[in-house]
C-alpha cells in the first residue's frame, strides 16, 4: 500500500540501497510508534488512576525502583548502541564503491547539473544509466554548496566547491526517477533538479553511442540564455544594451562607422569572439571578448541558435542546410 487516499506515503525504491535502508526505517518507525503510544497511554492511565479525589490524600513520596530504573537505562542504551552499529554498517555500504562501477563526472553550479559520461557524452540535469550495474558519480561544485539527491535510489551527497565528493548506487528498476538539489544554494534551488533515466543495458548503449544527443540549437540556446547569460543584454527589447538578434541572420546590418555588412556565420563568430571590431550602429562596445571562454563547438552551437531565431527560408538560402 504505497498510496493513501490517492497520494503517496511510501517512496519508490529503485536501488540496492532501498532494500537495505527501508527495513531499518520501518523498524524504527514501529519502535517509535510503540514507545510514543506506550508513554502517552502510561500518562493517561496514571493521570486517571492517581487523579486527585476528595478524601484521598496520597502523601508525597520519593519513590525508589532500582530494577525499573536499571531497566529503562540499560535497554535504551543497548537499543542506541544497536542502532549505531546498524547505521554505521549501512554507511559503510554507502562509501564502498564496488569494482567495475560506471564512472560519471558531475559538475554542479547555480542552478544546473552538468554530467559527462566516460565516452565524452554530455547531458544537463538528467542522467542516463543502465539498470543492474553500479554507477559512481564523482562530483564538484563551481560555486556554492549543492547536494545530489535521488530519493528513489536512497542516495544523497553534498557537492562542494574545490573538492571532489562521490556517491554510488546500483539501480534495480528501469524508469525515470526525479533528482533534486538538496543543499540550499540560492534563488533557484528548488528548480535545480532533473531526472535519472534507468534503461535496459541495450538501450543505454544505443543512447550512449549517440542516440538522442542535444541538438546544436538547443545547446546554443542553453549557452545563450543560461550559461553565458547573453540574454541579459540581448533581451530583444528596444533600448536594450545589445542588439535584438531576431531576424538578424542573413540580413544586412548597419555598422557604427556607416558601412554595412551581411550577418553571416563569419560576422556572428567575430562578433562573439571580438565584438568591438565591428559594432552595430547606435550601440556602445560593452560586450566582453569571449575568445578565451568558448571552444569551437560552443560558437557553432551559439550560431545555430541565432540562426534559429530567423525565418526558415533565409536560413535555407544562406547555408544550404536542410530545414530544421
Amino acid at each position: 500500500m504505497s498510496n493513501f487516499l490517492n497520494f503517496p506515503i511510501i517512496p519508490v525504491g529503485a536501488s540496492t540501497f532501498a532494500e537495505k535502508v527501508d527495513p531499518l526505517f520501518y523498524l524504527l518507525t514501529l519502535m517509535s510508534t510503540v514507545l510514543t503510544v506506550g508513554i502517552f497511554m502510561g500518562i493517561v492511565i496514571m493521570a486517571a488512576v492517581f487523579r486527585k479525589k476528595p478524601g484521598v490524600d496520597r502523601p508525597s513520596q520519593a519513590l525508589h525502583a532500582p530494577i525499573l530504573e536499571l531497566t529503562w537505562t540499560i535497554i535504551p542504551t543497548i537499543v542506541g548502541l544497536g542502532l549505531f552499529v546498524w547505521g554505521a554498517v549501512l554507511f559503510d555500504d554507502y562509501i564502498k564503491v564496488p569494482e567495475g562501477a560506471l564512472q560519471i563526472d558531475v559538475i554542479a553550479k547555480q542552478w544546473m547539473w552538468k554530467v559527462q559520461h566516460e565516452n565524452g557524452m554530455r547531458e544537463v540535469n538528467d542522467l542516463h544509466i543502465p539498470v543492474g550495474r553500479p554507477v559512481k558519480l564523482t562530483m564538484m561544485s563551481q560555486d556554492v554548496l549543492h547536494n545530489y539527491a535521488v530519493p528513489a535510489m536512497r542516495v544523497k551527497q553534498d557537492v562542494i566547491p574545490g573538492r571532489y565528493t562521490s556517491l554510488w548506487f546500483e539501480p534495480t528498476k528501469t524508469g525515470a526517477f526525479p533528482m533534486f538539489c538538496s543543499e540550499y544554494c540560492g534563488t533557484e534551488h528548488s528548480l535545480m533538479g532533473g531526472t535519472v533515466y534507468v534503461m535496459e543495458p541495450q538501450a543505454y548503449n544505443e543512447w550512449l553511442a549517440g542516440g538522442p544527443k542535444v541538438s546544436p540549437q538547443e545547446a546554443g540556446r542553453f549557452l545563450f540564455e543560461e550559461k553565458l547569460g547573453c540574454v541579459t543584454c540581448h533581451t530583444g527589447v528596444s533600448g536594450a544594451r545589445g542588439p535584438d538578434l531576431k531576424e538578424v541572420f542573413g540580413h544586412a546590418v548597419k555598422l557604427a562607422d556607416g558601412s554595412s555588412v551581411t550577418a553571416d556565420e563569419e560576422y556572428l563568430r567575430e562578433s562573439i569572439m571580438e565584438p568591438a571590431k565591428r559594432i552595430v550602429a547606435t550601440f556602445t562596445p560593452l560586450m566582453p571578448n569571449f575568445a578565451n571562454q568558448l571552444n569551437d563547438e560552443d560558437v557553432a552551437n551559439l550560431i545555430a541558435y541565432i540562426k534559429s531565431l530567423t525565418e526558415e527560408e533565409v536560413v535555407e538560402v544562406e547555408t544550404g542546410a536542410p530545414a530544421p
Binding site: T36, I39, I43, M46, F84, G162, F180, G186
Partner: protein
C-alpha cells in the same frame, strides 16, 4: 546575604500593596531598571514581538507551499521568508525564551535572594539584545537575507546579494546578551543561595538554568567568532571559507555546528526545567529521580558539545569522524529518554489534576518523545543518508523545538503567570487552547515526516505535484497553530486588566516563589528565607492561598 537579611526592609502598609509592577511607572524605571523581574517582563514583551514576526513569515511561506508551483511569491522572496523565520525564531526567540523571561524572573526567587548576582549586567544583557534586534530590523528594512539561518559559506560570504552582514551582526550581538545571562545565572546559583538551600534542595528548574548557563557561556563565543569570520570574508574578502579564496566551506559547518548543536540544548534544557516543576506540582508528588534529572542536565550540557558532527555525515567530513559523532549522539539520547520515563513515573502515587499548565506539559511529553525518537533515525549514519536535508529533518526539529520547547514555554507561562502578574487568565479557554495548539502542531508537522521520507528536500519553493496533499495539510495545521498562539497572547493580555486576582499560591505549589506575594515586591522577600526541606515536598492537602 546575612547582612541583607538582618537589615529588614521596611514596607509601607498601604491599602493598595506595592509590588514590582506598580512601584514606579516612569519610563526610566522600566527601561533602566535593574530589577530582574522587570527585565524579565521587558524580555517577554520583546521576544513576543520577534515570535510574532517569525510566525508571520512561517505562515506566509506555508501559504506559498499550498500549491506545487512557486506562484504566490518569487523564489527570492520565498527564500527570504524561510531565512527570516529561522533567524528570528532561533536567535531572537528560542535562545532567549525561557532563560531570559522565566529564568530571569524566577531564578533569584527560587534560590531565595533579592536579585541576580549582577543586576546591571542583566540590564546590559537586555540592551545588547535590543541593539542586536535593531540590526535585525535594519536587516529586514534593507531587504532581508536569503542564506537560510545556517549562513552556509560560500553562499553567505560571496554569492548572496542580501543583507548577510546585518543578519550576521544581529546574531553576533544577540549572542553577547545570551553570554551575560548565562554568567549571571551561574554566579547567582553558586553564591546567592538562601541559608539551608543546598544544591540538592534546588528546584530542577534552577539546575536546568544552571546547565543552560554553562552552555551559553562556553558555546556562544564560538558562533560569535564564526559570524565574525563570515563578515570578514564577505566585506574584506579574507579567504576563510570560500575555496575560491583559499578557504574551506566544511570548516564553516564545523564551527557553525560546534555552537548550534549545543544551542539546541540551550533551547530545550530550560524547557526540561519547566516540565519538572509543572509535573511535580500537578501530580502533587516528589519528582521521580531528582538526582538523575539534575545530573543529566549537566551531562547533556557537557556531552552536547561533542555531537555536532551528526549534522555533517554527508557534508564531506571524514567517515571516521562521523562514526564517533554517531556513537556519542546515541549515548546522549539516553539521558533524555530516561528523563521522559522519570516524568511519567512522577504521576505514580500522586494526586493528579489537569490544569492548563499540566495539559501543556503532557503535550510536551508526547511531542518531545516523538522529536527525540525521530532523532535516532537521523543519528544512525546509514539512515541519515536518505533523510538528510529533507522535510523529515524539518519535522524532527520542530517536534523538539516547538513541540518540546515552545510547549514547555507555554506550560511555564501558564504556571507562573499568576505569580508574575498577580492575575489569573481564563482557565477554561487556556485548557481549550492547549488542545488546539497540540492538534494544530501535529497537523502541521506530522505530514512533514511523510514528505521527508518521500524525499521532499528542505527550503523548496516549488515541488512535484504528488506532494501537494500533505503540504496542504501542513499549511492547514499551521493556520490552527497560528490561531492558538494568537488566542494565548489575547487572553494573557486580557488577564492583565480583567483577570481574577491570583493570590500567593493559586496552584498549591511548593517552592520559594509561592511563599511570596503575587506579584512579588521589588525585593522579593521581606526576610531572606531559611530552607529546611527538600523540594517538591507535596502532602496532598490543599494549601491554596496561604497569605503571609
Amino acid at each position: 546575604m546575612a547582612v541583607v537579611a538582618d537589615r529588614q526592609i521596611i514596607h509601607e502598609t498601604e491599602i493598595r500593596p506595592r509590588h514590582y509592577l506598580n512601584v514606579n511607572h516612569s519610563f526610566w524605571s522600566w527601561f533602566f531598571t535593574t530589577d530582574h523581574k522587570r527585565i524579565a517582563m521587558l524580555y517577554l514583551g520583546t521576544i513576543t514581538v520577534f515570535f510574532l514576526m517569525g510566525g508571520v513569515f512561517a505562515l506566509l511561506f506555508r501559504l506559498e507551499l499550498m500549491t506545487p508551483e512557486g506562484d504566490l511569491f518569487q523564489a527570492d522572496t520565498y527564500n527570504r521568508f524561510f531565512t527570516l523565520h529561522g533567524v528570528l525564531m532561533i536567535f531572537f526567540f528560542l535562545v532567549p525564551s525561557i532563560p531570559a523571561t522565566l529564568g530571569n524572573f524566577l531564578l533569584p526567587i527560587m534560590v531565595g535572594c533579592r536579585d541576580l548576582a549582577f543586576p546591571k549586567v542583566n540590564l546590559a544583557s537586555y540592551w545588547i539584545f535590543v541593539f542586536a534586534g535593531m540590526f535585525g530590523v535594519g536587516m529586514l528594512a534593507s531587504g532581508g537575507v536569503d542564506t537560510g539561518w545556517t549562513f552556509y559559506a560560500p553562499l553567505s560570504t560571496h554569492y548572496s546579494n542580501t543583507s548577510v552582514f546585518m543578519a550576521a551582526m544581529a546574531a553576533f550581538f544577540a549572542g553577547f546578551a545570551s553570554i551575560l545571562t548565562g554568567v549571571n545565572f551561574i554566579v547567582t546559583v553558586h553564591k546567592m543561595r538562601a541559608p539551608g538551600l543546598t544544591w540538592f534542595r534546588l528546584p530542577l528548574f534552577v539546575w536546568a538554568q544552571y546547565a543552560t548557563g554553562i552552555i551559553m557561556m562556553l558555546g556562544t563565543p564560538v558562533i560569535a567568532i564564526t559570524l565574525f569570520l563570515v563578515a570578514l570574508e564577505r566585506v574584506w574578502g579574507v579567504g576563510i571559507f570560500d575555496p575560491a579564496h583559499g578557504g574551506d566551506p566544511v570548516l564553516f559547518q564545523h564551527m557553525f555546528w560546534f555552537y548550534s548543536h549545543p544551542a539546541v540544548y540551550i533551547m530545550i534544557l530550560p524547557g526540561f526545567g519547566v516540565i519538572s516543576e509543572v509535573i511535580a506540582c500537578f501530580s502533587r508528588n516528589k519528582i521521580f529521580g531528582y538526582h538523575f534529572i539534575a545530573f543529566s542536565s549537566l551531562a547533556i550540557a557537557v556531552l552536547g558539545f561533542f555531537v555536532w558532527g551528526h549534522h555533517m555525515f554527508i557534508a564531506g567530513q571524514s567517515v571516521y569522524t562521523g562514526v564517533v559523532f554517531s556513537l556519542i549522539t546515541m549515548l546522549v539520547a539516553v539521558p533524555s529518554a530516561i528523563k521522559v520515563f522519570n516524568w511519567t513515573a512522577t504521576f505514580y502515587g500522586g494526586n493528579v489534576t489537569l490544569e492548563s499548565p499540566m495539559l501543556y506539559a503532557i503535550g510536551f511529553m508526547g511531542l518531545f518523545t516523538v522529536g527525540g525518537l525521530t532523532g535516532l533515525f537521523l543519528a544512525a549514519m546509514g539512515m541519515d543518508v536518505p533523510l538528510h536535508d529533507t522535510y523529515f529533518v524539518v519535522a524532527h526539529f520542530h517536534y523538539v523545538m516547538v513541540g518540546g520547547m515552545v510547549m514547555a514555554f507555554m506550560a511555564g507561562l501558564h504556571f507562573w503567570w499568576p505569580k508574575m502578574t498577580g492575575r489569573m487568565y481564563p482557565e477554561f479557554i487556556a485548557k481549550f487552547n492547549a488542545v488546539i495548539v497540540f492538534l494544530g502542531f501535529n497537523a502541521t508537522f506530522f505530514p512533514q515526516f511523510i514528505l521527508g521520507w518521500l524525499g521532499m528536500p528542505r527550503r523548496y519553493h516549488a515541488y512535484p505535484e504528488e506532494w501537494q496533499v500533505l503540504n496542504v495539510m501542513s499549511t492547514a495545521g499551521a493556520t490552527i497553530l497560528g490561531f492558538g498562539f494568537t488566542l494565548a497572547i489575547a487572553y494573557f493580555i486580557w488577564s492583565l486588566f480583567y483577570g481574577e486576582r491570583a493570590g500567593n499560591n493559586p496552584w498549591g505549589a511548593k517552592g520559594l516563589e509561592w511563599t511570596i506575594e503575587s506579584p512579588p515586591t521589588t525585593h522579593n522577600f521581606h526576610h531572606i528565607p531559611t530552607v529546611t526541606e527538600d523540594p517538591y515536598n507535596y502532602t496532598g492537602r490543599e494549601e491554596v492561598n496561604v497569605q503571609q
